[in-house]
Symmetry: C2
Subunit: 95 residues, 2 copies
């Protein structure tokens, strides 16, 4: 779980997730949205993949990246447990 938070700490990586929320993209298409060198983007993709925030799949010469909503949902639970919906139905973890 700590890997997920660390992955989200970088603005470029958050931007990658936002791009993928709009649809699957190849590594090259993702890199085209940034000013940095391709190996740097590839490194960010590796960190996101390791945190399981994205999955990849080779298609010919390209590698297509997909957003993995499952991990984001687990993260939502972490926030939810702080009792963010006061007045509503609350979890009991921290009471």
């Amino acid at each position: 779980m700590g890997d997920v938070f660390k992955a989200l700490a970088d603005p470029s990586r958050r931007r990658i997730l936002e791009l993928l929320a709009g649809g699957d993209l190849s590594a090259g298409e993702i890199a085209a949205h940034f000013d940095m060198a391709k190996p740097s983007v590839s490194h960010h993709l590796a960190i996101l993949r390791h945190a399981r925030l994205i999955t990849d799949e080779r298609q010919g010469q390209s590698i297509i990246y997909h957003l993995n909503l499952t991990v984001l949902q687990e993260l939502m639970k972490w926030f939810y447990d702080f009792g963010l919906l006061e007045g509503g139905s609350r979890h009991d973890k921290k009471d």
Copy 2:
């Protein structure tokens, strides 16, 4: 907003938030939950305060820390916008 994600990237800081979710605590009480030196904890508190995830209030010799749910709620919105609730009512930001 980037400050918030960076603040959450450290496990000690996330633990501090979880502790404060159980009720307000003084800096000393928070530090007592950790093995590290008090100045280190104080530094983490400063980062959380700068990200506005917590607020502080002096009470005599102690400084009491409170969790600030407002920023956590804004963060929830960021996650929500990825379309995490498929099938349900979705935001339109990324469509």
